[in-house]
């Protein structure tokens, strides 16, 4: 596929993820739509432009791994997994229903395509570090990607992993930070400030790229570069907006786990075109 066509396809998938995940949240009257929307472009780029995977062989040892550390954003995550072919799209309508495979937080034992069970924050990067070490020991070709929120970087476990990954020069590991600057209750910088975030990762020994997290072409460029020879793990700080794509949700902390009423749902769907 030509790059322009690929970027157009990714853009279309991202829009679909936003619409489908918002429908899930509306129907379930539960979820984390603000974070779904900040992550939608990153997820679409990964699954439709970067990751090597075969949804019919979810345990293929050679697959690229993606770890969804911000496990509360299952609206977007389940949507992208369904779009990628891991399970039927119709199943998305069971989101959070009793006995559904689509729990509020992902469970690898229920769903193919989930690498590790997340939900408590600060778990994804440490596990992804272990996956990358396995690949390093074997000299394997697969890459490991992990998407964290920014607020969750307040969990110390991430910094334990940051030390380990840099110490072992895990160039096969890529961390993407969904830097929407909002956590559950307030702005990150008003809560426990993270800036200068890029300097922190560089000081820990990581290679850092800063990108507009809604720019599919730029995300594709940065994430597609072969890591071979870099000698460092890669940290992509993706500057995003919570609620991106819907005017009344944009950069609005109330939509961390806000759920729409009928009117809001219809307005959002009218905007997401």
């Amino acid at each position: 596929m030509q790059t322009n066509d690929l970027v157009s396809a990714i853009r279309a998938k991202a829009l679909w993820i936003r619409r489908r995940s918002f429908q899930m949240v509306y129907e379930a009257q539960q979820g984390h739509p603000g974070g779904d929307f900040s992550a939608a472009d990153i997820l679409a780029t990964l699954y439709f432009g970067v990751l090597r995977f075969d949804p019919t062989r979810p345990n293929d040892p050679a697959r690229d791994r993606f770890v969804m550390s911000k496990g509360h954003c299952t609206g977007a995550f389940y949507s992208v997994l369904a779009a990628a072919g891991y399970f039927p799209e119709a199943e998305l309508s069971t989101y959070m229903l009793p006995l559904s495979r689509l729990n509020g937080h992902p469970n690898r034992n229920y769903l193919p395509g989930v690498e590790t069970n997340t939900g408590p924050l600060g778990h994804g990067l440490p596990v992804a570090t272990g996956i990358a070490i396995a690949g390093q020991i074997d000299g394997a070709d697969f890459r490991t990607f992990v998407l964290t929120g920014d607020g969750e970087l307040q969990e110390g476990s991430n910094w334990e992993a940051a030390l380990t990954a840099a110490h072992r020069k895990l160039e096969n590991l890529t961390l993407i930070i969904d830097r929407n600057r909002l956590q559950q209750g307030a702005r990150t910088e008003e809560t426990a400030s993270l800036d200068p975030l890029d300097d922190k990762w560089r000081a820990f020994g990581w290679h850092v790229e800063i990108v507009d997290g809604h720019d599919h072409a730029r995300l594709l460029d940065i994430l597609s570069v072969s890591p071979k020879g870099r000698g460092k793990p890669l940290c992509v700080i993706a500057n995003t907006f919570k609620g991106k794509g819907v005017s009344f949700m944009h950069d609005n902390v109330a939509w961390h786990h806000g759920v729409p009423n009928k009117e809001q749902y219809e307005q959002a769907m009218a905007e997401l075109v």
């Binding site: 040892p61 440490p126 596990v127 570090t129 272990g130 996956i131 020991i137 030390l163």
Partner: protein, 319 residues
């Protein structure tokens, strides 16, 4: 760490069994790796490191990433043995044990070293007398408390061939090799080491040989005590507990808090199905300063203490 206590003749440090078996298994199975948190020496893994330097991952003093890296290595097809002092492995990294290992149900082997009060004078920060209470409710996680070098070796072999998460509690307190007529290690099956119809003593770990000594002393008074080695905490051999209760009285003995460990597990079964007079021997909570042996003595976790508890419990049976 605490001063090295020489191992008395005929006694063994079960960490050596772990180290020997893991080195042998690793020769045959290239998937086996070890993961440590600056805990190479205390895990007796210097030999492993020498033989397989590229198959040891040392994350430094960082227990959360220690356990999580184990989960990640399992995802990458490895069979990781994650080894660290039990107090930190369980207490510090409990959420990783819960979410990354047990709930994710991945093929990680957790080796809780120097458990119980083995660190003696170093105090309750370094004791691990809460670990069973923390781990026992975790689904999917097999939990084994071996009693001697043979059982430790068997538990490690089981862990290597079992697909799924396993926790093995390894003591550094010297224990004798127990005499077994027909040694068969089966997870989820308790082992009756001595028959007896008056009372049952259910023990695990370093308390098993003490329970046997207590039973021998009781026999001299005409009291026949059955001794059950309940090394498998998850899954629990409820049948063996109910069979033990047929004696009409039960004493449990463990190197753990009296709350939430082996005694708690046995009490849950008995209270539900067959209440009998019961005593739970263990530590009441944080313990004062003292060597490991002194602490066991002080809290009655000795042959004499177990025998005395058995007599008291028997008296309640008669009422």
């Amino acid at each position: 760490m605490s001063a090295a206590v020489p191992t008395p003749s005929g006694y063994f440090d079960c960490r050596d069994s772990f180290a020997n078996v893991i080195e042998t298994l690793a020769e045959a199975d290239p998937r086996i790796v070890t993961v440590v948190s600056d805990s190479v020496g205390s895990s007796k893994l210097t030999g492993f490191r020498k033989k397989f330097p590229e198959r040891m991952v040392n994350v430094g003093i960082a227990e959360q990433v220690l356990v999580a890296v184990g989960a990640g290595l399992a995802n990458g097809g490895k069979v990781p043995f994650v080894s660290a002092a039990s107090c930190f492995l369980t207490g510090r990294a409990l959420e990783q044990v819960k979410a990354d290992v047990a709930y994710s149900n991945v093929n990680v082997k957790l080796i809780g070293q120097s458990s119980g009060v083995a660190y003696g004078e170093l105090g309750p920060t370094h004791h691990s007398i809460e670990d069973m209470a923390w781990l026992r409710p975790l689904s999917n996680l097999t939990v084994i408390v071996p009693s001697d070098p043979w059982e430790t070796a068997e538990a490690v072999r089981f862990a290597a061939r079992h697909e799924g998460p396993v926790f093995i509690r390894v003591s550094r307190m010297p224990v004798p090799a127990l005499e077994r007529k027909n040694p068969v290690f089966t997870v989820g099956k308790a082992e009756v080491l001595r028959e007896g119809g008056d009372i049952a003593i259910i023990a695990n770990g370093v308390m098993v040989h003490r329970a046997l000594a207590a039973a021998a002393a009781l026999a001299g008074e005409g009291i026949e005590a059955r001794v059950v080695n309940m090394s498998s905490i998850n899954p629990l051999d409820e049948e063996a507990i109910l069979a033990a209760a047929k004696t009409g009285a039960v004493v449990t003995a463990e190197e753990h808090s009296v709350r939430g460990g082996l005694g708690g597990a046995v009490a849950e079964v008995l209270a539900t199905h067959r209440p009998v007079p019961m005593s739970i021997l263990g530590f009441p909570g944080f313990v004062p300063t003292g060597s490991a042996e002194w602490l066991l003595e002080h809290f009655g976790l000795t042959p004499a203490g177990i025998a005395e508890a058995a007599r008291r419990t028997l008296a309640r049976k008669a009422q």
